[in-house]
């Protein structure tokens, strides 16, 4: 099913849906977002829109949907410029699935949200009602129609947002990072929904393996222009193209594909026979600025949870019967479906939530009293850096923790400098975190945690939504951090490359605790919690074999 790519002939017989000629756009502040985009989109096209963060993909998409008017150049919809009636039509006929479902679900129940489009298309309430039920059924949410969006899980919201667009029966569907932050099971469901869509597809994503399974044409954007227009197969089979466009994370395709060029200097997961211990991090800590000497009783695990459970105020289990010990210097991957308790476990380790059972940190029992001080020992980098960055400058952001510790001024300064250096953001001190690129913000968030010099760092999906270049840099930085790492992720390749050990959570319980390599081979997981990494693996293997053939 992944051999769907069809070579595209420019002189195709298909009808032209949208055509951009010399399309340019500048932001109000004068910054150029698009410069001279020439692109023809045919009916039935399945286009992957690829490029670095900031290459102009989102801006282009907003033109295609009629949200932005062409400042220069022209954009034709069915051969006519986007004005008046045609503008209204393009908005109704071309559906957009935005990145954040909370932007798209702006009503108080799903029903109203899904009915919003059809009602604006001029359908009567009765007709709209039928459309609502039809598209809710398509995404499998008919029984949730009268729920408020804030009562849905992220995956449900994402599907609901798709339903709001599907109910309008659009000719074309534009998807902006559709699978970001979804767990593998939900991603599969979502992929299937997208694949079933009969019309034209334009998909923005950094996830090449995902795109490969859906699209047949790849449009690469760079610096506001269309840089290349390939068939998907062409792009995927040529490693040099991938590298050229920064589409290839080195760890993602070299780690298990056999091409060890630029092999990152991390402990390779395939050596899982080795006992998971200080190995990698311990060896590096000497020459690293942020080094931490192991203290206290060397036999006691750094984190030791025994029979630990937490229940949410509404009575649902967060985590239950957790037995976990993490040694200093270890890197542990935490996997599991969304809602399996990964975040709750992190909150317990951080000391933000207090459950039942015993929790010892560095051999000392965590009590009500010293739980409040745990933040000096355990740091966390949250999934969305926007939730973490709230200072007007990078310097203040990184200095926040040390200041809260009450350190003297020169010590704060030293730590900020050191932390910024560790994430390669030296020189960014006075810039506003809000204006950095998403990769830079991720790194800044890490620096803000590093300056506290905590011994454990919890990383929640650190590489989500990043282009391959930023991902690579972040990966390199993280893999060199001489701290104990707990990585929460759905990203198999990242877990494999970064961690030796993996635990799998399911319904709040730890159901697996083994070497990372075993996780990859663990076919039983699918039947237990529906987590299926095999689809992505199959796509990756297909691409790798294409590349082998081309090489």
């Amino acid at each position: 099913m992944h051999e769907t790519a069809v070579p595209r002939h420019p002189e195709s017989q298909q009808f032209t849906l949208l055509e951009a000629r010399g399309l340019s756009y500048r932001y109000p502040n004068g910054q150029a977002a698009l410069s001279g985009v020439d692109l023809t989109i045919y009916e039935g096209d399945r286009i992957a829109l690829i490029g670095h963060n900031g290459a102009g993909k989102t801006t282009l998409v907003k033109h295609l949907n009629g949200l932005y008017a062409a400042q220069s150049g022209e954009l034709l919809f069915h051969g006519e410029p986007l004005q008046d009636e045609n503008l209204k039509r393009v908005r109704l006929d071309i559906g957009v699935l935005f990145q954040d479902p909370d932007d798209q679900l702006f009503c108080n129940t799903l029903y109203e949200d899904i009915a919003f489009g059809p009602l604006n298309q001029g359908f009567t309430p009765e007709e709209a009602d039928a459309l609502v039920h039809e598209s809710a059924r398509k995404v499998g949410m008919e029984e949730l129609l009268f729920k408020a969006p804030h009562n849905l899980s992220y995956g449900q919201k994402k599907r609901a947002a798709l339903a709001t667009v599907l109910s309008m029966h659009p000719d074309a569907l534009i998807l902006d990072e559709p699978t970001a932050n979804l767990d593998p099971r939900q991603e599969e469901v979502f992929t299937e929904l997208i694949r079933e869509f009969p019309g034209t597809l334009i998909v923005i994503s950094h996830d090449l393996t995902f795109l490969y399974g859906i699209c047949d044409r790849a449009v690469v954007m760079e610096k506001g222009g269309v840089h290349h227009d390939y068939t998907m197969k062409e792009l995927a089979s040529q490693r040099k193209y991938l590298r050229e466009h920064g589409l290839e994370s080195s760890f993602r395709f070299t780690c298990c594909g056999g091409h060890h060029h630029e092999a990152p200097t991390h402990a390779h997961p395939h050596s899982h026979g080795r006992s998971s211990s200080m190995g990698a991090a311990g060896g590096q800590s000497d020459d690293r600025p942020i080094a931490r000497q192991k203290s206290g009783d060397s036999d006691a695990p750094l984190i030791h949870l025994l029979d630990y459970s937490y229940r949410h105020p509404d009575g649902a289990w967060g985590v239950r019967d957790i037995h976990l010990h993490v040694n200093e210097g270890e890197s542990i991957a935490v996997a599991g479906e969304n809602g399996a308790g990964k975040s709750t476990l992190a909150r317990c380790i951080l000391g933000i939530t207090e459950g039942r059972g015993s929790y010892a940190f560095d051999g000392k029992l965590v009590t009500k009293k010293n739980r409040k001080a745990l933040w000096r020992q355990v740091g966390m980098v949250f999934q969305n850096p926007a939730d973490q960055l709230f200072c007007p400058s990078c310097w203040e952001e990184v200095a926040f923790g040390p200041r809260q510790m009450g350190l003297p001024k020169n010590e704060v300064e030293a730590r900020v400098e050191e932390a910024l250096q560790a994430v390669r953001l030296t020189g960014y001190e006075r810039r506003a975190p809000h204006h950095l690129s998403s990769g830079e913000r991720k790194r800044l968030a890490i620096a803000a945690a590093l300056s506290i010099r905590s011994r454990v760092l919890i990383l929640d999906e650190p590489t989500a939504n990043l282009d391959a270049g930023s991902e690579d840099l972040l990966f390199e930085i993280i893999s060199h951090l001489p701290v104990t790492k707990i990585l929460i992720s759905h990203d198999m390749a990242l877990m494999m490359a970064l961690c030796e050990r993996a635990i799998v959570l399911h319904q709040g319980r730890i159901i697996r605790d083994y070497a990372c390599a075993e996780l990859e081979r663990d076919v039983h997981l699918t039947s237990i919690n529906g987590i299926d990494y095999t689809l992505k693996n199959a796509c990756r293997d297909a691409m790798l074999s294409l590349q082998e053939g081309a090489a």
Binding site: P28, N29, G30, Q31, P392, S393, A432, H434, H435
Partner: protein, 204 residues
Amino acid sequence: MHISDGVLPTSVAVGTYAAALVVAGWSARKTKGEDLPKIAVVTSAFFVASLIHVPIGPTSVHLLLPGLVGILLGPSGFISIALGLVLQSLLFQFGGITALGANSLMMGLPALASWGLFRLMKGDSLTRYIVSAAFAGGFGVLLAASILALLLAISGEDFIGVAKLAIYAHLPVVVIEAAISAFSVSFLYKVKPELLGVALPAAS
């Protein structure tokens, strides 16, 4: 602090409703039609911000933010405030439904006044912005407390003592709001100056 149901005589409740509607109508006309949904979304953010508690000594106060709303939304600030109060009343019973008009005037007029004050005082430097924000923020709360006192006082002579107390009780809030407004505006000046109407330097 919002006035609950049952305090205001019916004539005052109805009169303030009418007055608030007039001002809200003016405020809505001053707002571009396409901005109305945007104001609604921003109002939710102000609503959430006003739930933040700031400790003073053993107790804590929650923020009122009329100054900041005025600074950021200008003449549209009044509808934003009124909308926020409708939500507070319907969601939490903070402020009675019969006192909605009075409460809107009490918080909305200071927002408009703060906007005027800020516009007069802000110069073209960060320091001027910060100072004017502090004044506008503090003044907003002071004015709100005064209107509250006035409304209580005309509700019956027995409540005059309560009215005086309300003013004193708001004095620490004046200081806190002044500081918070100053810090927030300083943050916005550095991070998103266009929200404050700061002229944007042309990017390269």
